[in-house]
Symmetry: C2
Subunit: 275 residues, 2 copies
Amino acid sequence: MQLFLGIDGGGTGCRAAVANAAGAILGRGAAGPANIASDPAGAAANIIAAMEGALAEAGGGEIAAAGLGLAGANAAGATERLRATLPFARVTVVTDAITAVKGALGAGDGVVAALGTGSVFAVQRAGMVRQIGGRGLVLGDEASGAWIGRAMLAASLRAVDGFTVMTPLLAELVEEIGGPDGVVAFSLRARPADFAALAPRVAQSDDPAAMAVMARAEADVAEAACLLRGGDDLPLVFLGGLGTVFAARMAGRFPVQAALGTALDGALMLAREAA
Amino acid sequence: MQLFLGIDGGGTGCRAAVANAAGAILGRGAAGPANIASDPAGAAANIIAAMEGALAEAGGGEIAAAGLGLAGANAAGATERLRATLPFARVTVVTDAITAVKGALGAGDGVVAALGTGSVFAVQRAGMVRQIGGRGLVLGDEASGAWIGRAMLAASLRAVDGFTVMTPLLAELVEEIGGPDGVVAFSLRARPADFAALAPRVAQSDDPAAMAVMARAEADVAEAACLLRGGDDLPLVFLGGLGTVFAARMAGRFPVQAALGTALDGALMLAREAA
């Protein structure tokens, strides 16, 4: 029986699924991280391990084609190096962002806003995906969890300095983090995930400063969505840990849809296309 | 003869001056860095070395009182530790920002905007200094050189993504830094000084994107100046590598004055006050 392999590999883990020609998933597997830019050898090993798990669950078979969505696949030379080590005759390797878009939209046109620790936006038109954003917190990642947390801490220092009023949530954060000097010290060692850890509290709060930060985030998402929709009536799908937050906020402004499937579903789509 | 010692110690060097009771500087000295938070022992040694140089040039004498403006003096416990190691009966230790303000304004009321790699704003009223900003690039340092450089690179990626037009200077920067991926990679390793190295080109340019970044920076400086002036007709003094840029831009909006003296002059003022 001809099988199709989908791989969704990110910085924290790698998931595999094996499906038949009709699209039914026959087996699943998982393994460690698969970032092919930062650890090519480890990524290749984890891809194979996840595949073997899925194949075993499926009861064995021949991989006709594979679709891989991998973190780091946009790094120069990374996919070529990986492809040479893989035992598949037909294989398509793209970033995990692309498989997420394919999974969320299927073959249809639409816009995807992925809002987690970082943020990235993409549009699919006639099967072609164009991605914007996703530049990291220093220069971008607008409306991401990290951006929201950092914006709230910046707002707290502006309130300390007297530019704006000190709201209850700002005061609470400054107190928790050890006063203004503690906030500065935190900012110097914080990774994006550390800022993002503050985002759920900001997103759920009716504190005026939190609402102002969320309004700015929503404006940034709307700007990206408008740019990518380009005046066409394309659906908007939200992904990521903050996806539901923005989906709820923006359902009145855009035709918000639920994702059709996962990044692994997108990888399986690529595998069938590669066959 | 009774002498007064002023010390201006920063992260890159330490300057000393010895003056007589009439305020005439009789000798100067210099030594290595004097950040008393990051290297207390090295800072103390460099302060003494700079002082000895100044005293030697002055032909010797007794230090009646010392005023020290030192980087890191706002860190908890730092000034107490230093004071215990210094051989001066009367000594005042403050941050180098405070001595910069005292030097710039003398005893008069006014506002100081220090715009270099970072930014910090202060007001002096009746000899009391209140400082705002200076929180570092992650959460603040608005209108600083690092902020300007970073804003310009963020604008370059927004132009790449199609949010705004790609102006000549944005295109030039993206090309120089190795394309959009190169800009992202640069942002991940860049220190504030690396971003600030781009600022002079931005400040001098008539490129539309550069002018937009500078307009935002000017608005931030104006907001800080308005907050600190509090409706009073206080002069505004600009310090730092970008001080002349903003002084020229804002002379029509605020009563811009030249600095009366340096941070070392401010330190000598403190020494005379301590006596």
